[in-house]
């Protein structure tokens, strides 16, 4: 796409009447490029007046502002948002860790839009018809840009939040080794499909790493135990069994168990015990850690 060469004159000649939108766009892009320095400064001023981007230093704001300005004008010119999207994603990746928020990003883009709009207004206000046509060319393009930058930022933010949630999920389900060959897995919080899967993977790895023979899973802390959750547990139990580990579920009240069975959940593969303590005792029994029965012979010896 051929770029309009910068005019040598201080003032560009007014466009002929009846010029199409494309030509008008070219014209206003040229104006925005010519007056880049002062418009950018105006914009930076408005940003600090509005108390935006307080997390960034003036130097940082300046360099990002330059890049945003140039990308903005390029996008106006080409009508293509792809390059802008890529830049916006990149920018978001940089500023999100700095604590920049959505309203700030939208704010500065809209301020830029306003600064440029006013500059156009200033330039063409002598001719209201022309001004209208210039704005007709500018506004849809400027709005598309604002939306693109806003959406890119929000998407990047959502991606970061997802990653953080993922990390929290992993941290919040520790598999504890309490005795040799015995693992305890206390589950706290909602157990959705994704979490159940993650838990299962973690547990199976732990069974191998710790050579566990018995696993006690406590679901006292799981708020809603419905048939979906129960089925996740059944799968967990079956997978553990394939690795030679037996599973004891604790914290499943007999009431809920009855409900689940009537819902058609097959609990036959699960060994359930009321509470965690009881579950651990059962596990120790299974592992042969139970206290030996009182020995009569020994008593005789001591007498």
């Amino acid at each position: 796409m051929a770029r309009e060469s910068k005019s040598e004159e201080a003032v560009t000649p007014p466009p002929a009447a009846g010029m199409g939108d494309a030509a008008l766009l070219k014209e206003l892009v040229a104006h925005l490029r010519e007056n880049r320095t002062e418009l950018r400064e105006e914009w930076a001023r408005r940003i600090s007046d509005a108390d935006l981007l307080t997390a960034m230093t003036p130097d940082e704001i300046f360099s990002e502002a330059t890049a945003v300005y140039d990308n903005y004008v390029d996008a106006l010119e080409t009508g293509s948002v792809e390059a802008l999207q890529a830049y916006a994603r990149d920018l978001s990746e940089r500023i999100i860790p700095r604590g920049v928020e959505t309203h700030e990003v939208l704010g500065i883009v809209l301020l830029l839009r306003d600064v440029l709009a006013r500059s156009l207004f200033e330039k063409y206000r002598a001719d209201p018809d022309l001004l209208n046509r210039i704005l007709d060319a500018y506004e849809p393009a400027a709005n598309r840009i604002a939306v693109t930058v806003g959406v890119s930022f929000v998407q990047e933010r959502e991606r970061v939040i997802r990653q953080q949630q993922e990390a929290i999920r992993e941290l919040s389900t520790p598999v504890l080794q309490v005795r040799e060959r015995l693992l305890i897995l206390p589950i706290i919080g909602v157990l959705d499909a994704q979490r159940a899967r993650q838990l299962t993977e973690q547990l199976l790895q732990a069974i191998r790493a710790n050579r566990a023979k018995v696993v006690v899973i406590d679901i006292t802390g799981v708020p809603d135990i419905d048939s979906a959750v129960a089925n996740h547990m059944v799968q967990l139990v079956k997978a553990s069994r394939l690795m030679g580990a037996s599973v004891i579920i604790t914290g499943l009240s007999s009431e809920i168990a009855r409900t689940l069975v009537t819902l058609g959940v097959d609990l036959s593969s699960m060994r359930t015990v009321g509470d965690l303590q009881g579950g651990i005792e059962e596990a120790e029994r299974q592992l042969g850690y139970a206290l030996p029965a009182f020995d009569d012979d020994l008593d005789d010896e001591l007498a």
């Binding site: 299962t200 993977e201 199976l204 790895q205 069974i207 191998r208 050579r211 566990a212 023979k213 799968q235 079956k238 997978a239 553990s240 069994r241 394939l242 690795m243 030679g244 580990a245």
Partner: protein, 123 residues
């Protein structure tokens, strides 16, 4: 490459390699059937530690092997199913119900010895 089968006392230990084609599975079935009979083995260990994929064919074949061995007086234990494999099997709905499983060779042997002891003690 046929799956190597070692005799360890009353037990047979078949150690599966990483890539198991259908024909190798069928070969293993035949080999085991023959040897359980020949040695009057009390137990069979199928070690699948090296198997990175178990599908429905292998799963069914292993169940068939366990059943065959049982008919000939031997108990079977499958050992060494890897976490990812266990996960995939359960997703597929192949839970090897009715087949003994243990974590590894050591556990498998302990299991079989325990069974043999109970048999001897008349339990």
């Amino acid at each position: 490459m046929p799956v190597p089968i070692l005799k360890q006392g009353d037990f047979l230990i078949a150690t599966v390699q990483s890539a198991l084609s259908d024909r190798e599975v069928l070969q293993l079935q035949d080999d085991l059937a023959e040897r359980v009979g020949t040695f009057r083995s009390q137990g069979v260990i199928l070690d699948v530690t090296a198997l990175d994929i178990m599908d429905s064919f292998v799963s069914r074949a292993f169940r068939a092997m366990a059943l065959m061995a049982k008919l000939k007086g031997a108990e079977t234990v499958i050992v060494g199913i890897q976490p990812e494999v266990a996960f995939a099997l359960v997703q597929l709905g192949l839970t090897l119900e009715g087949v003994n499983t243990a974590l590894d060779l050591e556990e498998g042997l302990a299991f079989l010895r325990g069974l043999a002891k109970r048999r001897r003690d008349g339990r």
